[in-house]
Amino acid sequence: MAASPAYGEEKGGSSSLGEPEYGHDPASGGIFSSDYKRHDDLKEMLDSNKDSLKLEAMKRIVAMIARGKNASDLFPAVVKNVACKNIEVKKLVYVYLVRYAEEQQDLALLSISTFQRGLKDPNQLIRASALRVLSSIRVPIIVPIMMLAIKEAASDMSPYVRKTAAHAIPKLYSLDSDQKDQLIEVIEKLLADKTTLVAGSVVMAFEEVCPERIDLIHKNYRKLCNLLIDVEEWGQVVIINMLTRYARTQFLSPNQNQESLLEENTEKAFYGSEEEDTKDAKAEAASMAKRKPYVMDPDHRLLLRNTKPLLQSRNAAVVMAVAQLYFHLAPKAEVGVIAKALVRLLRSHSEVQYVVLQNVATMSIKRRGMFEPYLKSFYIRSTDPTQIKILKLEVLTNLANETNISTILREFQTYIRSMDKDFVAATIQAIGRCATNIGKVRDTCLNGLVQLLSNRDELVVAESVVVIKKLLQMQPAQHSEIIKHMAKLTDNIQVPMARASILWLIGEYCEHVPKIAPDVLRKMAKSFTNEEDIVKLQVINLAAKLYLTNSKQSKLLTQYVLNLAKYDQNYDIRDRARFIRQLIVPTEKSGALNKYAKKLFLAQKPAPILESSFKDRDHFQLGSLSHLLNAKAVGYQELPDWPDEAPDPSVRNVEVPEWTKCTSREKRKEKVEKPFYSDSEGESGPTESADSEPESGSEENGSSSSSGSSSSGTEEEDEEEEEEDSGEQSEDKEEEEEEEEEEKRPKRKDKEGSHKAVLRTAGSPSEEEEEEGAKKSKKKALQGRKGRAETSSEASTSESSSSGSDSGSEAEAKQRKAPPSSKASSKEISLLDLDDFTPPPPQPIPSSSIISTSLVTDLEGLTLTDTSLTPTLLSPAFSAVKTYELLHRMAGEGLAVEYCFSRRPFPSDPHMVAVQIQISNNTDTEVKNLRVNEPKPLSGMRIQEFPEIEHLAPGDTATVVMGIDFCDSTQAANFQLCTHTRQFYVSIQPPVGELMAPVFMSENEFKKEQGKLMGMSEITEKLTLPEKCRSDHTIVQQVTSAANVGRVPCGASNEYRFAAKTVTSGSLVLITLERREGSSAQLTINSEKMVIGTMLVKDIIQALTQ
């Protein structure tokens, strides 16, 4: 309150509410009371029933806060409105609360119960905002409540709430660092989260709470790398910075034994960063003879590869983060890619330029070659701010070498004439540095600088003198002329630093100018008393040196100077004079040092090295604040050195607890991996829906929660489920009604007195609470049954009411039923489960892909035996079934629709492609009358709709099959998907490989048919098979996954043949893949349909070479 009188006065002037008669009262008491009264009307407004008045009052209060005025005495009045229904009032109250809660801790507690209620809200956004505000209130008493809330939110279904939980972690940590251990547990849990929404925030929390716990990252490393591109931009920055540190501890330096390789490989490596495998192989071969080869850890490569596209980000911070990652982690040859992006940032705002140039300056010292091509981008414009000019100059100087020095010097010449004198001085220094670094131009520079000595601007001259002094030190003998010239300058130049430099030069090289030196000393002795201290010291120095070399002429002068110095005001000068007198003037008392005086003064001095102030800055992580300041900032994490021995890379392997889990996880991972960018077909996988269920053991008893397992249910089971569901629903409704009533009651009570509410939360459980508790557990039980949160057993034990125990037993019964049905289903419908055998995404675990390929071929064998049943049209030759998204959960308002091509003949019409559609209802209401409406196919296209789905219970999934005749074109089929309330426009675009069905034929038949389809109908393409795609299994698998084709037996071992017929017109499509020596191969496709042929070639090659 000490500050409030002052504020009060200010307010009197600016606020319209001011009461002038008090505002001018000098007595502070008066101002206090005016303060009190002034806020009275605000209080009245806040207490009124009208929302508009409350809003007006809150707006005024927020405006006060914004202006930095104290509004804390309104706290009780404001906090009452925390439960206000008007959303804007509520938000403004939150703003107020977060600002002042710290100062009024006791009163702030009044609001806690509201947030606690919010945490249980069914709406995820309300849960999130409640947690956000709760965690922002810095009141230590509520730490346990916060901890509990965070823990709960960390396992919330909604990724948005989990994100908020991640945000809350550092807040709690800063409030009470004793919670660290518990918080780390939460962080660990959230790190395992697979959604992009959470990733950035949790890594931020990790960095703030436990950056040293690098072990938590191991298991999540690959996931983070893969998610990176889809994380929001701010999260990307944090993750990239963290991964840089991680990589420094886990991988070996890529440059350790590359020096020898570099000469041969620079060119190749520079361009060929994409084809790492081949390059690495080459590099290996080259170095094999010399020493142990360095092989980059695949995880290291993964990081480099996945961050590279982010150089294209619009966010300068992301670009900088990637640039520093490459600088610190990439092999020398690859660092070059960042230069272009950094140069691009120079177009941005001047603050961005400033930071980027600082970093470029550091980089350009280490890796000059990188920025050389962009030299001209650093040319200086007269409109640049001075600080930018000076940084650009620094970069230009760093980039100077023998070849470009002439152009750089020409630039410098224009800079010297600039009106900005600070900049001119910096330019002169830069010229000096160029001259020292590049011997070739030293004389030119020196001449140029000497010319500057006759400049009219004193500052320019002074700066030149200082630089010349440094240059001359390198080769004094040849430059007595210049020294003479400079000696003359002492008459004119007034800048002390320059005068001192000249005097030092003359003293140092007095032997080269024997005649002038004593004369200079004479002049200086005359003006000694008027000189600056720094000049006086140099005069003494000069005198001493002259005394030693030329005592005859200068003895008296020296004595005179020393005498003057003896009575100088500055003690440094007096000291120096006394010291020098003792040293050089031989007296009987002078000791042994006297003999060495000459050696002391006229020793050969090493020439100063002019070097950049950015020279050693790269021990700070680039892009960091510490690097910019060249000093360790608070909380800076050192960038560790590369380890000598690589730590065990297997820690990053994600082990798989059980087979089914693995497959589902793999599937998820794939989904997550290519949400938005990865697929050109726009398969934007629902990243968050994938794992909205918690991964607890109780997962099994949730029959309809996730999309994966449930769809495999048999009809029988479906029916039963429906029954059960409807039962549940009716119960649900009852429950809800009760719940509503229940909710109304406490609200009423809230109005009676909010103090009571606090008592309730803190103190002994009252009757009501018991009741509420019962309700809660009842609800929990229900949820458990739905497989969302709790296990049923817990529910049933905690239950007392009859309905509760009922539900418990029901759930148990279901649990019993569940296992057999799932077994049955896995046999029944192979298509969806086969999905699980999809080889995992390319890089991470090569070992598992071997397993899956072998399984794949086994299964293929199985399907081949099936062919007897359908002689001409093969049932699907096995391949991975890709699912595509038809309607995203968000776009569909909770209705998610995916489709895949089942590769089975469509029963009612052989000319149609069967499309299996899987619809899951993620809303909390039932969806009715789901049907296809108004198909508007392009000419010739036909659509066979699936039968209308009458009901789809919340959380349920239905699978239907529809047929589409695409007319052998890849045009999309557009139609509307209707529910009882909404309609969605959707379209299915088939990949070309799905427009055909496999055909069985013998080798001879194949050859015969092929003979008919030569010339125009034949398309041949050469390709190179990557290493991992050379086994028979893989090739067959890749081809069959790219297109729905059947394999044709073949005599030659290096040839693979496949045949298929287009679905609509039945034209043959024949595929021949011939392997040549090494990795090259030739793909031939014969088909009447040239368009299909060309597209297919492209698809297959892509499948084989990716």
Partner: protein, 418 residues
């Protein structure tokens, strides 16, 4: 990360403060004022200022300093980029970003800032999400609000944050479906005394204004994508597709946004559309100097050069200038020594020129440097690099949108040394 934000106007008043963690006293800004005093001009205030307990990171835009206070290590660009994003958002909300506007809309500003950061870490910076949370004030809405007492805060909770396409909100509806693209190229160049080009490069952007119903998926292809040397995308652009096919494929945000910025490599010869003939001389003996500049078109591909504006910073010793332009208007500010000449269109038949004398301060010697000339101009219907959009296709929606594309070339940092 970001602790607090202070907004400081040109006269050094802190007119807004916002804290995301514990309150930091505004006295921390004293360090900033010190630095400001040391730097002669506003743009020379260092963006990063260390103080004993905090670090001050600032950006200067629209005559306002946005000063962020941080307490521990954080990438400086992270903060700077964020501050710029804040300014952009204000501009987006209020049309202009000025002290007056911010003061008038302080509640909205506060609400927006509250949503943008959580505990100092960016939460929602995508303008379409923010606009769903807090509606920007329009005149109509202000009137309605005062009458009905309704609010600017969206009553619907935003779903954008949850979606995979956070930059687009769902349920967008327009009666006229339109998509406009502006290809704007800027030439940065330094021309030396003799008229030869020292450095020239082209920086281009494609700004879009897309008002399309539903969830359209657009693809934009170029006739000559190879021209683009270095590109940076709005997050909506699918990078893989660009890598493999050089096609821009994206689900656009609603409204105005910058789709792409690009750089045309310096290896390509850049056509310089204008030239400046200049004859500026000061004599040692007299206090008068001669001044004469002529602007003319060079390689304009037959298009007219418009909006030509010449500015030049004269040396300190120049007292006044007596000039006559053949067209346009000119002004010389004797305080800042800034000469500006608004030329307008260049007529190739009759080249605009500005002639006259310069009077120097008596007694001073002639200035070392001739002033550099900065040039601004515009050329409509031309992308100087030759970039051409081939076609724009829309998938995912049924209706036929109206599509439009506009080209323009402008001077960026175009400087002529004399």
């Amino acid at each position: 990360m970001i602790h607090s934000l202070f907004l400081i106007n040109a006269s050094g008043d802190i007119f807004l403060e916002k804290h995301w963690k514990s309150v930091v006293s505004r006295s921390v800004c004293d360090y900033f004022f010190e630095a400001q005093e040391r730097a002669s001009e506003a743009e020379n205030v260092p963006p990063v200022i260390p103080t004993p307990h905090h670090y001050l990171l600032s950006v200067y835009r629209h005559k306002i300093f946005f000063v962020a206070v941080i307490q521990s290590e954080v990438p400086p660009l992270f903060v700077i980029e964020f501050l710029h994003r804040v300014v952009d958002t204000f501009q987006d909300y209020f049309g202009v970003c000025s002290e007056v506007i911010i003061k008038d809309n302080v509640v909205v500003v506060y609400e927006v800032l509250e949503e943008m950061l959580d505990n100092g870490f960016p939460l929602a910076t995508e303008s379409n999400i923010l606009k769903e949370l807090i509606k920007p004030p329009t005149i109509l809405r202000t009137v309605v609000n005062t009458i009905t007492g309704s609010t600017n805060v969206g009553d619907q909770l935003p779903t954008g944050q949850l979606s995979v396409v956070p930059w687009r909100r769902t349920g967008v509806k327009y009666t006229n479906n339109e998509a406009y693209f502006d290809v704007i190229e800027e030439i940065d160049a330094i021309i030396d005394k003799s008229g030869s080009t020292i450095t020239a490069e082209i920086q281009g952007v494609i700004d879009a204004c897309v008002k399309l119903t539903g969830m359209p998926d657009l693809t934009l292809s170029f006739m000559n994508p190879r021209l683009l040397d270095d590109v940076s995308f709005h997050p909506c652009v699918r990078f893989k597709r660009w890598e493999s096919e050089r096609i821009l494929s994206f689900i656009p945000p609603d409204g105005n946004f910058r789709l792409l910025s690009y750089h045309v490599s310096a290896q390509n010869l850049v056509a310089i559309p204008v030239y400046v003939k200049h004859n500026i001389s000061f004599r040692d003996s007299s206090s008068l100097g001669r001044f004469e500049i002529t602007v003319g078109p060079k390689q304009t591909m037959g298009k007219t050069v418009e909006g030509v504006m010449v500015t030049s910073q004269m040396p300190k010793s120049v007292l006044n200038m007596t000039l006559t332009p053949s067209q346009g208007t000119h002004a010389f500010d004797p305080v800042t020594k800034l000469l500006s000449w608004d030329v307008g269109k260049i007529n190739p038949q009759k080249l605009p020129s500005l002639k006259g004398t310069v009077s120097l301060q008596a007694g001073t010697s002639k200035p070392d440097e001739n002033p550099t000339i900065n040039l601004q101009f515009k050329i409509q219907q031309l992308a100087i690099s030759g970039l051409k959009v081939n076609r724009l296709d829309m998938y995912g929606e049924k209706y036929k949108p109206f599509k439009g594309i506009k080209y323009m070339t402008k001077a960026g940092k175009f400087q002529v040394r004399t």
